[in-house]
């Protein structure tokens, strides 16, 4: 799996329920603000407008607003200029979000705002100084919203790691599956400290001595084999992250090369013998010790507000998926439902006779 960090963050609302404002537009110096009200999530954002570009004759006006140093929102209204009434009626709104820094924080803010706007239903956007008040509804495919929340989660985990190790990463344009795995591991190490993690096999090395032979004999009797703790670090986005010490307990363990290892160790000449331990259920318990702790206060007010939206965003998305799943059988009788959900045996479904009929 990989997660693209950079993409076009454009949302379009074609169904603008209101949106007429008078002209001329005031200057930016007069303290214009773009205000979002998202009642579904009790979210209000007031973002200072830094630039206005208007070409009303051509039917377009754009407001750029800057959220701290991380994100720019560009709201573009397209519509009709009415010279007699001296006003401009917005008929479509595009909202473009750009991150000014390639950081998890900037991406987290964009992902959160975008997910909230898509999942909220009605969104109210106001620019009080020009009495602009529009009601918007953004509609995006569910899969995009789901991927947006996944991306937001990865950003959040990176931010937790950053706050804990005291370093802000410069994110690449694409986060690889291996990087996502390392982010997840480091996050759990910091937040939980002890957890079950997937593992296939692990190779450890014994000197060929009598003590090792005794230890191997003991280990073969065990279904949980402990290893370590040993110092643990991993490299994330080119930077080494030190995560204290890690102890591993391999569960449902078997020694894959037991006979060979026993033979080699029995030579008792001190040479190094690899021993391959495999978990038949593919899991190990990881215990981290002496790991850096995150600070007591993790986020500023803006980010904290967005962090707290998580469960509401989840519920809103899950409800949409559940509704779509039940819509796949809506309107059908019980008999019809059974008919369309009873699966064929493979031979029945695949085998076709010469006339093209099922045999």
């Amino acid at each position: 799996m990989s997660t693209a960090v950079l993409e076009s963050n454009l949302l379009t609302a074609e169904n603008v329920l209101s949106g007429v404002f008078s002209i001329p537009l005031p200057q930016v110096e007069q303290g214009l603000s773009l205000c979002f009200d998202v009642p579904a999530f009790q979210l209000q954002l007031t973002i200072p407008i830094t630039e206005v570009e208007s070409d009303m004759i051509a039917g377009r006006v754009m407001f750029r607003a800057k959220l701290e140093d991380d994100v720019v929102l560009a709201l573009t209204g397209t519509g009709t200029f009415n010279s007699e009434a001296d006003n401009f009626k917005i008929e479509q709104v595009d909202l473009q979000m750009e991150q000014l820094t390639e950081t998890a924080r900037a991406d987290f803010i964009i992902s959160t705002i975008r997910a909230a706007l898509i999942l909220a239903g009605d969104v109210y956007v106001r620019i009080p100084s020009i009495q602009l008040d529009v009601t918007l509804r953004f509609d995006e495919p569910l899969l995009d919203s789901s991927q947006m929340l996944r991306r937001r989660q990865i950003d959040y985990r990176i931010m937790v790691i950053e706050r804990t190790v005291g370093y802000e990463f410069h994110l690449p344009s694409d986060i690889s599956g291996d990087e996502v795995r390392d982010i997840t591991l480091a996050y759990y190490a910091i937040v939980d400290g002890s957890f079950v993690w997937p593992i296939d096999s692990i190779k450890i090395f014994f000197p060929a001595t009598r003590e090792s032979a005794d230890m191997l004999a003991r280990l073969r009797q065990e279904t949980s084999i402990p290893i370590g703790p040993d110092p643990f670090s991993l490299k994330l986005f080119g930077r080494q992250i030190v995560l204290g010490q890690r102890g591993i307990i391999i569960q449902d363990a078997v020694i894959e090369n037991l006979e060979t290892a026993q033979n080699e160790i029995s030579k008792n000449d001190g040479h190094v013998v690899p021993v391959l331990i495999r978990s038949t259920s593919g899991q190990a318990k990881y215990d981290f010790f002496a790991i850096p702790k995150p600070p007591a206060v993790m986020w500023d007010a803006n980010v904290q507000k967005m962090v707290e939206l998580e469960s509401q965003l989840d519920v809103a998305l899950v409800n949409r998926y559940h509704a779509l799943a039940t819509a796949t059988l809506a309107g059908l009788t019980e008999e019809q439902k059974k008919e369309v959900t009873t699966f064929p045996d493979l031979d029945e479904a695949f085998i076709v006779d010469m006339d093209g009929e099922h045999v």
């Binding site: 593919g282 899950v318 369309v340």
Partner: protein, 158 residues
């Protein structure tokens, strides 16, 4: 046996029985399990191409009958396509084919016919590094005992 539990971060595909139970919407346990999964991974469980095939087969099979497809069937099929497009769909690719080809000859000739479908679902899940959410643990245990290269089939019993 190369069977393992689905861990916290294990990505899952839905077996057909779970997919249908979700569509019926009556089983609160399934709805909660899907919500819990989304809350952990932020994604929804994936579908295999085999599950999508079978879901669409149901409608096509109905559509060729007299007086069909009626409006309800068309609408239900449209929503089914929307649902499958709203989920990640894992293709039955080269690796899936290799895994399925390894498993099938090693199963007893007397296996229930449905097990063959489960092999294709399991092979697809294994090829893409996914586990399987199912109510039919026994079938998948049988399949897991014949996976190649000691691949571990992770099961979530929903």
């Amino acid at each position: 046996m190369t069977l393992g539990p689905a861990l916290t971060e294990t990505s899952l595909v839905l077996d057909n029985d779970i997919f249908n139970a979700w569509r019926y919407g009556r089983d609160q346990h399934i709805r909660r399990a899907i919500a819990d999964y989304q809350s952990r991974l932020k994604l929804f469980p994936a579908l295999t191409a085999m599950t999508v095939y079978q879901a669409l087969y149901g409608f096509e099979n109905k559509s060729i009958k007299p007086d069909e497809p009626n409006q309800q069937t068309i609408q239900a099929r449209t929503e089914t396509e929307r649902l499958s497009k709203s989920c990640d769909v894992l293709p039955f690719n080269q690796r899936s084919a290799e895994i399925a080809a390894y498993i099938v000859p090693r199963l007893s000739k007397n296996i229930p016919k449905g097990t063959l479908v489960d092999v294709f679902i399991a092979a697809t899940a294994l090829a893409h590094g996914y586990g399987v959410a199912t109510r039919n643990r026994r079938d998948f245990e049988l399949i897991a005992s014949h996976t190649p290269d000691s691949l571990i089939l992770r099961i979530a019993a929903w």
